[in-house]
């Protein structure tokens, strides 16, 4: 299980990356959200035995992360943490799909192994794209983009509230949880009997806090409408960004870039 403090710190770190200033950061968030969507849809649209054709797609996360000045090691570490889960899911494929796919020397590789590898690769690409989107855009701008792409205001506003108070409440939760752990010997005391009241207390405090927040809003003239300043616009740069990457994805989807390059090289060598 994740330690609470660690998770909060991690969240803060990813969020802070978005305060950077780079070519990518300066783009309108909508362009980045749309491009990420196109990327993910293209990647998952391959059939389950596609493995090599996925590799050229690394160009997108790598280029975006580099242009956005994201710390590569950090992103890679975050992705690696997810791989075990992908492996558990993918592991079932070799068990159920034992048909021979390819034989390389003495090794017989079944379709199951190929599709398992494909699942892991898909995970790396899609998860990486999501982290990078947040890193170069920031959650708030993603929300804003969602709203300007048609998401109802009620939804995005409470999404913003959620995000704002994650930091406050996880810290509060961490304090309560630490107190409980310190006073319970080993596993004793960590059961439901103490969990219920602990969470209940946290819930009541949360509820009262929500009331105070609403009060603070009323005190400043809140009438149910949120005003926001619109900072960026969707210009030619954005259009070019979305269209350019989409074209790259479509080409890589139709032509197996790895295959193509590999043939070129092996052809030259032989």
């Amino acid at each position: 299980m994740r330690s609470i403090d660690g998770a909060v710190l991690d969240l803060k770190r990813l969020d802070l990356l978005a305060t950077g200033d780079s070519v990518i950061h300066r783009l309108d968030a909508r362009a980045k959200v749309l491009t990420t969507l196109v990327f993910i849809v293209t990647v998952v649209s391959f059939n389950r035995y596609e493995f090599t054709a996925l590799f050229p797609f690394f160009i997108y996360p790598v280029v975006t992360a580099s242009l956005g000045n994201l710390p590569g090691g950090y992103i890679v570490r975050k992705i690696i943490m997810v791989i075990p889960f992908a492996f558990v899911v993918g592991m079932l494929n070799p068990i159920f799909d034992r048909e021979l796919f390819v034989r390389i020397g003495p090794f017989a590789i079944t379709g199951g192994w190929i599709s398992c590898a494909s699942i892991i690769l898909r995970t790396v690409l899609t998860v990486g794209a999501a982290f990078i989107l947040v890193g170069v855009t920031g959650f708030l701008s993603v929300c804003e983009a969602l709203e300007r792409l048609g998401t109802p205001r009620t939804f995005t506003v409470q999404l913003l509230f959620l995000y704002r108070y994650i930091f406050v409440l996880t810290e509060e939760g961490a304090r309560a949880s630490r107190a409980r752990e310190l006073r319970s010997c080993g596993r004793k005391g960590l059961g439901l009997a103490s969990f219920g009241p602990l969470i209940g207390h946290l819930l009541i405090r949360t509820w009262l806090r929500a009331e105070r927040i609403h009060m603070a809003m009323l005190a400043r003239g809140f009438t149910g409408e949120f005003h926001s300043r619109q900072v960026s616009g969707f210009g030619w740069r954005e259009l070019f960004y979305v269209a350019g990457w989409s074209a790259v994805f479509v080409v890589l989807r139709m032509e197996n870039g790895a295959q193509w390059m590999g043939r070129l090289v092996t052809g030259v060598l032989s």
Binding site: R164, R212, I213, R220
Partner: protein, 251 residues
């Protein structure tokens, strides 16, 4: 300028669980006064303040702000007049960035964008937080949060400033800064505090609450010289009025 008078008459508040937080509180605060409300934990200070802008409704008694009695109809106007800084700044900073948060009130007043921007800039400079504009509130330290919370209230240009323990959790420097800020605020100030030295420095008048009633109300120095009163209300003399125990100098 009698219209910024704060009048509380025979206020009583009983919480849903039966706790009598305020028994019978009456006081009048005039325009431009700087008043401290002190008392032990649980004396009812926060409860009293929360009545001043209508967050809590009294079980009995009356509150008048300026020329209006506090009713449902006058509430919006009164909330504009009375700016309240909460005990926990996190309750007050709910928008994505410091800028948005400070701009929240002015936008709701219907001001045009340019004027909002000017106002935000001005109040942030006033509290010494101009450099924090684009930061999200959860990346601020406690003292920074407090300063921004005060800015959000100042941005509404209130006539009466109400603060619940403004200096709690601040480091000595931030505390000094805040005290300077409060000294510069020209309108009526009402605040609760356990920081008795600040009370001595900033307030001419002090009100002592004890178990939900007003135990004393008068000039600050007089109250802090009444040893019997202080003992009864679980208070003590501010350090600045005691002899210095380390170097032996003093009175």
């Amino acid at each position: 300028m009698s219209h910024h008078i704060v009048e509380v008459k025979h206020l009583q508040h009983i919480y849903a669980d039966g706790t009598v937080a305020l028994q019978d509180v009456s006081l009048t605060i005039h325009h431009g006064e700087s008043v401290a409300i002190i008392g032990a934990n649980g004396a009812g200070k926060s409860t009293l303040l929360l009545h001043l802008n209508g967050y809590l409704t009294a079980n009995s008694g009356e509150i008048r702000i300026g020329d209006f009695p506090l009713t449902k109809k006058t509430l919006p106007e009164i909330r504009r007049t009375v700016g309240m800084v909460f005990q926990d700044a996190d309750d007050q900073l709910f928008m994505p960035t410091v800028f948005d948060d400070v701009a929240f009130g002015p936008f709701n007043l219907g001001l045009p964008v340019d004027e909002v921007k000017q106002r935000v800039k001005a109040v942030l400079e006033q509290v010494g937080a101009a450099h924090l504009q684009e930061k999200p509130p959860y990346h601020l330290s406690g003292g920074e949060k407090k300063r921004v919370a005060i800015a959000t209230v100042l941005s509404m240009s209130p006539d009466i400033l109400v603060m619940d323990e403004p200096t709690s959790g601040l480091d000595p420097f931030a505390r000094r800064q805040l005290m300077g800020l409060l000294r510069d605020f020209q309108h009526t100030k009402i605040f609760t505090s356990h920081d008795l030295d600040m009370v001595v420095e900033l307030c001419q008048r002090t009100i002592v609450l004890h178990k939900g009633i007003v135990k004393a109300d008068g000039p600050t120095l007089e109250i802090f010289n009444d040893d019997a009163l202080l003992a009864e209300c679980r208070l003590e003399k501010p350090l600045s009025m005691q002899g210095c125990p380390v170097c032996g100098k003093g009175r």
